[in-house]
Symmetry: C3
Subunit: 422 residues, 3 copies
C-alpha cells in the first residue's frame, strides 16, 4: 500500500474514537497505532505531580445527549464527541431552554460548525452544537443526560524508542487528546507512527529516535518531569508534528530563541525545497513546543505544521474533518519529514585529504581539456570540496555552495568514494 493511503486510512479509522487527555479513547487510539509500530503504553495515576501540575482524574463517557421538548435526541455524543464539553461531569436533569442556553456553545461566525470546548481543570458541564441547530431550539423543557465518569484512574501515553549507533537522540512527538478532528489532531499521531515505522525499518541509524504520543500540555509536562535531565543531555533535535495533513502551506514554529539545531536543520531544508514556507516565532506557539522549549527545559524543538493551528478557519471545530486533509498532503508531509531525517543522519563535517585542489581530472571528475567553462557537475564537485575544511557541516556547505542539502550530500558521497574527503 502506498504510504499516503496508509496515512489516510488510519486517520479515517481513528476519527470516531472519543479521545480526551485521559480515558479509554487514548488507549484505543494507541492500540490501533500499535499495528504500525510497537508503541509502549504508560499509565500515570491521577493526582501524580508533574512540576506545577497534577494529573487530572480520568474521564470516560458512556453517553451524552439532550432531549428536546418534542422528544428528539440532539447533541448526541455518539454522533460526534465534540457535542460534549470535555470533562463534563455526570448529570441528568430537566431544565428550561433559558437555563440550558447558559451551557451551550456555538460559533455565530461559522454557523455550520460544532466548536471544540474542554474544561479540564474546572468542573463544568456543557454541550456544543452548530449555531444553525441552536437557532432552532424551541422553548420548553429539555432533558440533559451526561453519563460520564470522572474518577481517580490514570493518564495514558505512548512511547517508542528506536536505538541507534549513539545514544544522542532525535525526538518526534505528537498528541492524542482531541476528539474527532482530522488535521488537528489525527494527522500528527498517525504521521508520527509512520515515520517511526520508516526509521525502524532502516538497517542502521546513527541516532537514537524517541517517538511520543502524549496528551497535550499535561502529558508533555509529565513526561518532562520524569525525563528532563536525561533528555537535556541527549536530545540534539526534536519535532512536534501537528496539523500536518492538509495541502495549504508548510509552516514552522521556531524554538524559543530561534537558533537551535532543529531550527538550523529545518531552515536549510525549507530554503531549498519549500521556499514559500511560513516561519512563526515562538510567540505564535501553541502545542507541546510550549513545554519542550520552556525556559530551563530548552530542548532543541521546532513544530512542523502544514496550516498552522489557529491559522486555518476549520481549526478547533467539527469542520476540521477528513475533507480538509488529503492523501497528497499527507504524502508531502511524510516526504518533508524524511528529508529532515536524512539530513540529520548525514549532517557531518568533512575534511579534504589533500592540501590544494586534488587532481580531479585523473579521477574522471573533471574535464581534462581546459576550455571556457566547467560543466555544472565539475563546478559543484569543486565547490563542495572547497568547504570540506572540517568546520562546515552539510548545512553550512549547502548555504555556501547554494545547493540543496540533498544535492550536497550526493556530491559529498562521490568525494568520499574517491577518498578525497574523510
Amino acid at each position: 500500500m502506498e504510504i499516503e493511503d496508509s496515512l489516510y486510512q488510519y486517520i479515517e479509522r481513528l476519527v470516531p474514537i472519543p479521545r480526551s487527555i485521559t480515558g479509554n479513547g487514548v488507549r484505543q487510539t494507541l492500540d490501533i497505532l500499535s499495528e504500525i509500530v510497537p508503541i509502549v503504553q504508560h499509565e500515570v495515576p491521577s493526582g501524580t505531580e508533574a512540576f506545577d501540575w497534577n494529573i487530572p482524574k480520568e474521564w470516560n463517557v458512556n453517553d451524552a445527549y439532550i432531549i428536546t421538548p418534542d422528544g428528539r435526541k440532539i447533541a448526541d455524543f455518539h454522533v460526534n464527541p465534540l457535542h460534549l464539553v470535555g470533562y463534563s461531569p455526570p448529570m441528568r436533569q430537566k431544565m428550561s431552554l433559558a437555563t440550558l442556553q447558559k451551557h451551550l456553545y456555538s460559533l455565530p461566525q461559522q454557523p455550520s460548525a460544532i466548536p471544540y470546548i474542554t474544561s479540564y481543570y474546572e468542573e463544568r458541564w456543557g454541550f456544543c452544537l452548530t449555531q444553525q441547530e441552536r437557532d432552532h431550539l424551541a422553548d420548553g423543557e429539555y432533558e440533559v443526560v451526561i453519563d460520564s465518569n470522572l474518577h481517580d484512574g490514570s493518564m495514558t501515553y505512548g512511547e517508542l524508542i528506536v536505538p541507534g549507533e549513539t545514544d544522542e537522540e532525535i525526538m518526534f512527538t505528537s498528541y492524542v487528546c482531541h476528539p474527532y478532528m482530522a488535521n488537528n489532531e489525527l494527522s500528527g499521531p498517525v504521521m508520527n507512527a509512520h515515520i517511526a515505522a520508516y526509521i525502524l525499518e532502516q538497517p542502521k541509524r546513527k541516532y537514537t529516535y524517541r517517538f511520543l504520543w502524549l496528551p497535550e500540555t499535561v502529558g508533555a509536562i509529565l513526561y518532562l518531569s520524569k525525563h528532563l535531565a536525561y533528555l537535556k543531555q541527549k536530545v540534539i533535535a526534536g519535532f512536534v508534528l501537528s496539523c500536518i495533513g492538509d495541502e495549504r502551506a508548510f509552516s514552522v514554529v521556531q524554538s524559543r530563541l530561534g537558533n537551535s539545531y532543529a531550527d538550523r536543520v529545518v531552515n536549510v531544508v525549507m530554503q531549498f525545497f519549500y521556499s514559500e514556507c511560513k516561519f512563526y516565532s515562538f510567540l505564535d506557539r501553541g502545542s507541546d513546543e510550549r513545554q519542550f522549549c520552556a525556559p530551563g527545559v530548552d530542548l532543541p524543538f521546532v513544530t512542523l505544521c502544514r496550516s498552522k493551528f489557529g491559522e486555518y478557519p476549520e481549526y478547533h471545530t467539527s469542520l476540521d474533518n477528513l475533507d480538509i486533509i488529503s492523501k497528497n498532503g499527507l504524502g508531502q508531509s511524510y516526504d518533508w519529514i524524511l528529508r529532515l531525517y536524512r539530513l540529520i543522519e548525514n549532517n557531518n563535517k568533512y575534511c579534504v585529504t589533500h592540501f590544494c585542489e586534488p587532481n580531479l581530472g585523473k579521477r574522471g571528475l573533471y574535464d581534462t581539456l581546459s576550455s571556457k567553462g566547467l560543466s555544472a557537475m565539475s563546478r559543484h564537485i569543486r565547490n563542495v570540496l572547497a568547504y570540506c575544511d572540517g568546520n562546515h557541516d552539510v548545512i553550512d556547505i549547502s548555504y555556501r555552495v547554494k545547493l540543496s542539502p540533498d544535492k550536497t550530500m550526493q556530491f559529498l558521497e562521490i568525494l568520499k568514494q574517491h577518498n578525497l574527503i574523510h
Copy 2:
C-alpha cells in the same frame, strides 16, 4: 504646580542672567536652581590643569555697548548679553564704522537674529547684532565700551549626588555657560534639576544618581580629570540633557561605539514610544558627550535632545528664546527621561520558578475554558514568562515579546506577585 509650569518658569527666570563658562552668571544660575534641589557649588581656580586644558580666567561684565555717531546706545549687553562676544576683554575706544565692522558679527541669512559668538581661548573683542541693525549703521565715529573683567578667579560648577542602594551610578549632566538662550541651553540645566528632584523624592532607589551642571567642554574635562577612575568603575549609564524644551523632534546622539548600556536603554524606549526618533551617530556629537565618550574615557553616555543642537534654525542665535520651547514640550521631555529612569531601575533578569509552563489557570491568569484563541492578556503573560530564563533583561524581553518596557514590567510584576518568577 504642574511640572511643566515649573520647568517653564525657571527657564523664564534664568534667561536674563548672563552666563559664560566662568563668572557670576554661572553662580547665580546655580543659586536659583538650588531652590529645586540642594546643588553643591564647586570652584576651580583659573589656571588649574585638566588633561590637555587649563581653566581659563574668570570673565565678568559690568556693561558693554556701542554709541552710534548720533548718540544712540546699541548692542547693549544689558538688553541682551548675546550682543557681546564672549570673553571680550575690557576696552573703551572711538573708531570709524569701517574699523568697527571688523569686530561685528551678524547673520545675513537670518537678518533678525543676533548670533552667539565666543572666543574663550584667544583674546578678541566683538559685538553681535542683527543684520537688519547692522545694515542701517551710518558712517561716522562710534564709541565702543566694554566694561568687562578678565582675572584669575575660578570656574564654578554644580553637583548633586543622590545615593541609592548600590554605588553603581547613573549620571545626568547639562551645561551652564550659554547666555540668554532657552532651548540651548536653559532647558537642559532646568530639566536636570527637576529630574533630580523627582528621584530625590523617591522612597528608595537602586542606583546612585549623579547630577552635574558644568560649563560645557572645559567643565566636563575638569570634572573627568578629577573623577575619571571612579566614574569608570561605577557609572553604568549617563545622559547629557541638551536642547530638550521644544516639541519638534526626539533626538538621540549615540555613544562613540553606539553599543553602550545607555544606548540599549534609550533604543528600546524609543522603539516603543517615540518611533519617529532621530538617531545621530557620534559623528554628529557636539555637547559633553564629546568628553564623556572620548577614547579612554568611554563612559556609557548618550545625549538626549528634542531638536538636536545644530539642527534647528534658531540654534546659537537670539531666536533660540522662549518662543521655541513650550510647557508641553518640556513636559514630554520630563516624561521621556522618567521613562528611562524607571526602566533602568527595574531592568532585571528574571527566572521562572517552575520547569515547563506553570498552571496559569489555577491562578486566574488563564482562560480555563479552551477555545479558539487566548485573550491578549493571557498571551502576553505567557510570552513574558517564556523569556524569564535568567538571561534576558527587561529590554531583551521587550524586544522578544514585542511589548513596551512599561507593559513588560507590568506583566513581570504580576508574575512576581504569583511567585512564578524570581
Copy 3:
C-alpha cells in the same frame, strides 16, 4: 617613461613568446621580466610530487601546422601559438578532412576567434582555428605536422622576495603559462613585476614582499607543497593579479570564507574609490586563489581583476589581444594596487595621548571662534581622533568616520605630528 607605457610595451614584447606550463617560453618570459626586477628562476624536475599532483613532462614546440589539399599551410604555430592544442605530442601524418575534424577546435559563436585549448594531463593532439577558416576547409588529404617534444625536463617559475622591517609577508602572484593572450595573462605577470619594482625602490617597508610568477595550478600547488608551513605563519595578505589590463570593470574574487585580512583591505578601498566594483564569491574563483585559499591552505588571498576571467567575451580566445587592454587601464590598475600597498603598510592602530578631547584650538587645528558649525577639516580631525582608541585600525576608522583610507591616513599623520596620537 610613464609607468603605463612600460607596462604596455612589456606586454607587447611578450605576446609572441609561446608559453605553456612548462618549456622555454616560460624561461624566456621570465628573462624579459628580469629586466624590470631581479627575478630568481627555479627549475622543478618533471615527475616531482606536489600534494596530489606530479610535475608534468616539459613540452616544447619547434613547429606545428597543417598542409591543406591545395598545399597551403594553415593553423601555423609560428603565426599564433594558440593554433596548437597545448601539450600536443609530436606527430606527422596524412589524413582525410573527416579524420582531421575530430582534432579541430573552433568557436561557432565567435567565428573570428581561435580558441585556447590545452590538454595537460591526457595525451591528445589537436589544432585550434577560427570557425570562419574551418568552414572553408575543402575535402581532400591533409598533412598534420607537430614537431613538439615531450620529455622529462623541468617546470620553471619565478620568485622575488623583497625583505622588510618584519618577516610578516604580503604576497603578489601571477601566472606565466598562457600563450599569446594579453589580458589573461600578460597583464598579470607584467603588472606583478612593475609593482615589485615600485616596492623595491622604497627606502624602507614594514612588511616583506613575496612576488611569484607561477605556471597556473600546478605551479601554485608545487610552490605551496614546498613552503606551506612557512607561508601559513608569515603571510598576512596575498593578491593574485589576473586579467588586470582592460578598463571595463574592477573585480575582486573574495577569499574562501570572505573574511580574510586581504578581503578587509580590498573592501574598504573598493568602497571609497571603486564603488562600482564587482565582488565575486569564492564560488566564482578560477585562478590560483583556488590553491592559496584551499581548505587547509587558507592563506588570506583575494584575486584582483579588471574584467574577471570567464566574464568577458574575448576570454580564452585569440581576441584577448592587445586591442582589449590599454595603457589607461594598466595605469589605473597599477594605482589601485599601490593604494592597497600603502594602506597595508600604514594600517596601524593609534591611541590618543590625552584623555578627553585635546585643546585643538591652541594647536591651530580648530576654529577658536565658536560659531554655528565646524569647518570640514576640524570635523574630520576630531572624528578621526575620536576613534584612536587603540582598537580601531585605519580600516576601521575609515568606516567609522566615512572617509577614504587615504584621507584618514592624512589626518592621522597630522595628529601624529602634533603628538596627539601615538
